[in-house]
Symmetry: C2
Subunit: 341 residues, 2 copies
């Protein structure tokens, strides 16, 4: 024992730590691996094994109590079935659509996400996207870069003030945490003189804005729809053709949540035909594919799912994931549990 190097001793100790299964590395882990070194757990990296995933999971089925998942490695009913000891699923993302929440709920598996640390970045991006599409910043930037200002003189695009009605909405199950997202957007937009309304499954007593139980009714009275809820079975295609037509010809949609919350095919039709006024989209139904027709439109702003991609946000998300895992293994309350409401 005396001859062991400190490094080897530390390896020995690490071996005794409880294991957190990671099927594929989330981008955060690739970027900031050092941040995942903990004295409370160790990562069990399925992708480093030569075993097929199912066999790998079966091998560790008895010991794995926690899973760190991501969009690339979803927690499906099949995965849950292979891991009967799992009690906790954590994701480094704000989104939770890669986790089968019903199955987790049914089996009493706790779930935590990282929406809380991304809420300011997501809100900054949502407001930036909204102003961009309303005031035509990206399209004006293209106009200037193409040398059209001296050539064409007066800028040919109209623009519009930030309008007084605005919607911040939700409909999620199991995701009270994304309320921070929404209130961060609302707080910013109030400073622009916008009126905020919201939709949710049920009214939130702590939210100071008028509640609409029906998305269609909400769209009728709104100029802008900011989509910042989780994608679930309930919210899939919640923004359908009817809602978009209700939003109207001047209406603007901002989506910093998940593409599939909007019926994208119908949205493209509405944008092309002028049935809605414009859209600022950070997310799409089949990323990285963006509907070709959108690429030609001047009433849309398109960004590649980067609303929450800031170095600061990523580092905070690492810290939150690690803190959630340490809390779980120490039997302490989770820092950002999804709560069923």
């Amino acid at each position: 024992m005396e001859s062991q190097l400190p490094q080897e001793r530390s390896k020995l100790r690490t071996k005794d730590l409880p294991q957190v299964l990671v099927m594929k590395p989330p981008p955060l882990l690739t970027l900031f691996e050092d941040k995942f070194i903990s004295t409370k757990f160790q990562l069990l990296k399925a992708w480093e094994s030569t075993l097929p995933l199912d066999q790998f999971l079966t091998t560790y089925a008895g010991s794995v109590r926690a899973v760190l998942c991501s969009g690339a490695s979803p927690v499906t009913p099949h995965i849950i079935r292979l891991l009967p000891s799992v009690q906790f699923v954590v994701t480094a993302s704000a989104g939770i659509n890669h986790i089968d929440l019903n199955e987790c709920r049914r089996l009493g598996i706790a779930v935590a996400n990282a929406a809380a640390v991304f809420s300011d970045d997501a809100a900054d991006a949502a407001v930036g996207l909204l102003i961009d599409v309303l005031r035509k910043i990206s399209v004006a930037d293209r106009f200037v870069r193409r040398g059209l200002w001296p050539a064409m003189g007066d800028y040919p695009f109209g623009s519009k003030v930030i309008i007084s009605l605005f919607v911040c909405f939700t409909q999620e199950s199991w995701d009270c945490r994304t309320w921070k997202h929404r209130s961060a957007v609302a707080k910013r937009l109030e400073a622009f003189g916008c009126t905020v309304l919201y939709n949710s499954r049920k009214p939130k007593p702590w939210v100071p804005y008028p509640f609409y139980s029906n998305v269609h009714e909400l769209a009728c009275g709104s100029d802008v729809l900011v989509v910042c809820c989780g994608l679930t079975a309930e919210t899939r295609h919640m923004i359908n053709r009817e809602v978009m037509v209700a939003l109207g010809k001047q209406g603007i949609i901002v989506n910093v949540a998940r593409g599939a919350i909007i019926d994208e095919k119908e949205m493209v039709v509405c944008l092309v035909h002028g049935e809605i006024g414009g859209a600022a989209l950070d997310v799409f139904e089949n990323e990285p594919d963006v509907p070709k027709q959108l690429l030609q439109l001047d009433n849309v702003v398109l960004t590649p799912h980067r609303a929450v991609f800031t170095p600061e946000g990523f580092m905070a998300a690492c810290d939150l994931v690690v803190a959630n895992l340490e809390a779980f293994f120490e039997d302490k309350p989770l820092l950002s549990p999804l709560i069923d409401e």
Copy 2:
């Protein structure tokens, strides 16, 4: 008299109204001529006369007490000399750089601008431009439109959160009204968690932010410089190389005021060499010419002097100009006088 048509009677009456000289029509007048019909004054349109301007002005020198000017028809010492009866100069713009303020001050000529009605639009645009350059929205939009997302996978551009230090500044003479501009920007940015500092010729007791008497010192402690003051002899090239270097490699400049407040040549050097982090520019020194080197940069956002161009803002500016003129001819206080402080 009995045989006169109402139209002719109205013409007769109009003839008796005091005249407001307009040398060239400001864009507002071209767009919304109806709004300038008043029972208190009539417009005297120099551009409709076949006389050369100087001769036209000499002809009306005795009767013209008010001038409606614009960037296209500046009020120079020469013009003022030709119009010895002028007591009031009004502009439909937020900017006042086309009016010789020293000469007006010396002769006791009142001046009014329309900054007040544009302040919300300008602030919306300033914040939108800032988020755009910080979070790289326009460059991300170009990336998606070029089809690079599926081709290149991970988006190659870093992005950055809205940062905690921010500057809202001034230095103007004769322009307390533009304070509404600045406070509208500051109010919005506070909602994003930004700290606001400001520079001015002297501290404004009613402004709740820390005051810096020196722009260079202000830039040393700031991440973002939002330029929203009037262009005067004092503010021309106020943002010089030294200030930009003090702002630093991560520093961002937003300009929604006038191009010449920044030493544009030096700014281009700083942007190309990475001596500042980026810029979001709605205004340039020699519009519509934009320095060619800027057109290739991904750390700038360029818009064609449209920060305040919204239909709503334009109509409010018409109303304000007319109200100022009516107040002047009725010996009532002006609605938006420039005040020397």
